[in-house]
C-alpha cells in the first residue's frame, strides 16, 4: 500500500537532514497527517516500524499528530458543521478545506556530536 512509499520518502528526507546537520542519530520524528490525506495512520506506523530497522532511523520514535478536517466558508469564514453539506449555511458559498489533508514532516530530533 502507499503508506510504505510515504515511509520511504520520510526515511530519505530524514537521512538528508542528518547529513546536512552532521547528526549521528535520530531520536524522534513527528508527522502531521490530515484526516483527509488518504493515509491510514496504523498502517503508516507499522510500515515505519518495519522499515526503520536497517536505516539511520533505527531506534527513532515516531509521533503522529492527526489533523482533523476543518472546513470553512471561503467567503465569510464561518465554520462548516462536520458531516453537513460543504456549503455555507449563511451565504451559500462552497466551503474551503482549511486543514486536514496534510502529510507533513513537522519535526526531527537528532543528536549532533560536539565538535
Amino acid at each position: 500500500m502507499h503508506e510504505y512509499s510515504i515511509v520511504q520518502s520520510l526515511v530519505d528526507r530524514v537521512e538528508a537532514e542528518m547529513r546536512a546537520c552532521g547528526a549521528s542519530a535520530v531520536s524522534r520524528v513527528e508527522l502531521d497527517i490530515g484526516e483527509l490525506a488518504g493515509v491510514e495512520v496504523p498502517l503508516l506506523e507499522t510500515a515505519f516500524a518495519t522499515f526503520q530497522e536497517r536505516t539511520a532511523l533505527a531506534g527513532a520514535a515516531l509521533a503522529i499528530h492527526r489533523v482533523p478536517a476543518a472546513w470553512r466558508c471561503s467567503w465569510c469564514a464561518r465554520e462548516i458543521a462536520r458531516g453537513g453539506p460543504l456549503r455555507c449555511a449563511t451565504c451559500g458559498t462552497p466551503a474551503r478545506l482549511e486543514s486536514g489533508d496534510e502529510i507533513v514532516l513537522r519535526r526531527i530530533e537528532m543528536e549532533v556530536p560536539d565538535v
Binding site: 483527509l36 488518504g38 462552497p94
Partner: protein, 223 residues
C-alpha cells in the same frame, strides 16, 4: 512527504499544457465502468484524437479493449501497486504518442482509496461511480470525492431495475465535495456521453506554441 511525486507531476502537467493535451485522471472502484466509459467516449468523439494509459495490477485487457475502440493505448501493469503515480505515467509516455492527442486519459487502477493521494499531472480528476455501489458511497470515500472535478454516475440504464435514489447520491456528494458536479451516463445506451464530451471540450487547453524550454534533471527524450 510526497514532494518527489509532486515534482514529477508538475513536470507532466507542464508537458501536457505545452502540447495542448487535456490530461484526465480517471478513477473509480473496480467494475465501476471506467473502460466501458472510454469505449463509449471514443464511439461518440468524432474527430477527436484520444490516447490513454491504462493501469491494472495484472493483464493488459483494458488497454487492449481501448485499442479495439480506436484509442491509442498502452497498459501500465503495476504488479502490486494499488495506484498509479507520476513516475509510472511519465515512463509510459515514452510508449504512447500522447503529444498528438486532444484527450489523454490516465485510466487509474480500480480503487477508491490510494489513487486519490497521487497527483499524476492531470488537468482534471474524474471519478466514475456506478449506480450499484450504494447511495452513501461518497461518504465512505471523502478523500477521493473531494478531489473530483466531476463525478460520472455510470450504468444509469440499470436504474429502472434498482431501488436507488439519485437524489440521495447527490446529497452524499454535497457532504464531501464543496462544488458537486454529477453527470448521469450510460456506456451501454450512450446517454450522457455527449454532455461528458462537452464538459471535456470546455476544458481543453489551446495548443501552446512555446518551445520545449524548461530544464530536465536528466537527459531524456519524449516521443
Amino acid at each position: 512527504m510526497l514532494a518527489g511525486n509532486d515534482a514529477m507531476a508538475r513536470h507532466l502537467r507542464e508537458h501536457f499544457a505545452e502540447a495542448g493535451v487535456l490530461a484526465v485522471n480517471l478513477m473509480g472502484s473496480p467494475g465501476s465502468g471506467k473502460t466501458a466509459l472510454l469505449e463509449a467516449t471514443a464511439r461518440e468523439a468524432a474527430g477527436l484524437r484520444i490516447a490513454a494509459v491504462s493501469g491494472d495490477l495484472a493483464t493488459d485487457h483494458d488497454a487492449a479493449r481501448l485499442r479495439r475502440a480506436g484509442i491509442t493505448a498502452v497498459s501500465i501493469t503495476t504488479g502490486s501497486a494499488c495506484h498509479l503515480d507520476a513516475d509510472m505515467v511519465h515512463h509510459a509516455l515514452h510508449e504512447v504518442p500522447w503529444r498528438a492527442a486532444d484527450l489523454f486519459f490516465i485510466e487509474n487502477v480500480g480503487n477508491l482509496v490510494c489513487p486519490a493521494v497521487y497527483d499524476v499531472g492531470q488537468a482534471v480528476s474524474v471519478v466514475v461511480l456506478s449506480v450499484t455501489e450504494g447511495e452513501d458511497k461518497p461518504l465512505k470515500y471523502p478523500v477521493m470525492f473531494r478531489k473530483a472535478d466531476l463525478v460520472l454516475l455510470s450504468k444509469v440504464d440499470l436504474l429502472p431495475h434498482l431501488q436507488v435514489d439519485v437524489g440521495a447520491i447527490e446529497d452524499a456528494l454535497a457532504r464531501v465535495m464543496p462544488e458537486p458536479r454529477l453527470l448521469q451516463v450510460s456506456a451501454a445506451t450512450g446517454q450522457g456521453i455527449q454532455a461528458w464530451l462537452d464538459w471535456l471540450e470546455a476544458r481543453r487547453p489551446h495548443a501552446q506554441e512555446h518551445a520545449h524550454a524548461h530544464a530536465h534533471a536528466q537527459e531524456h527524450v519524449h516521443p
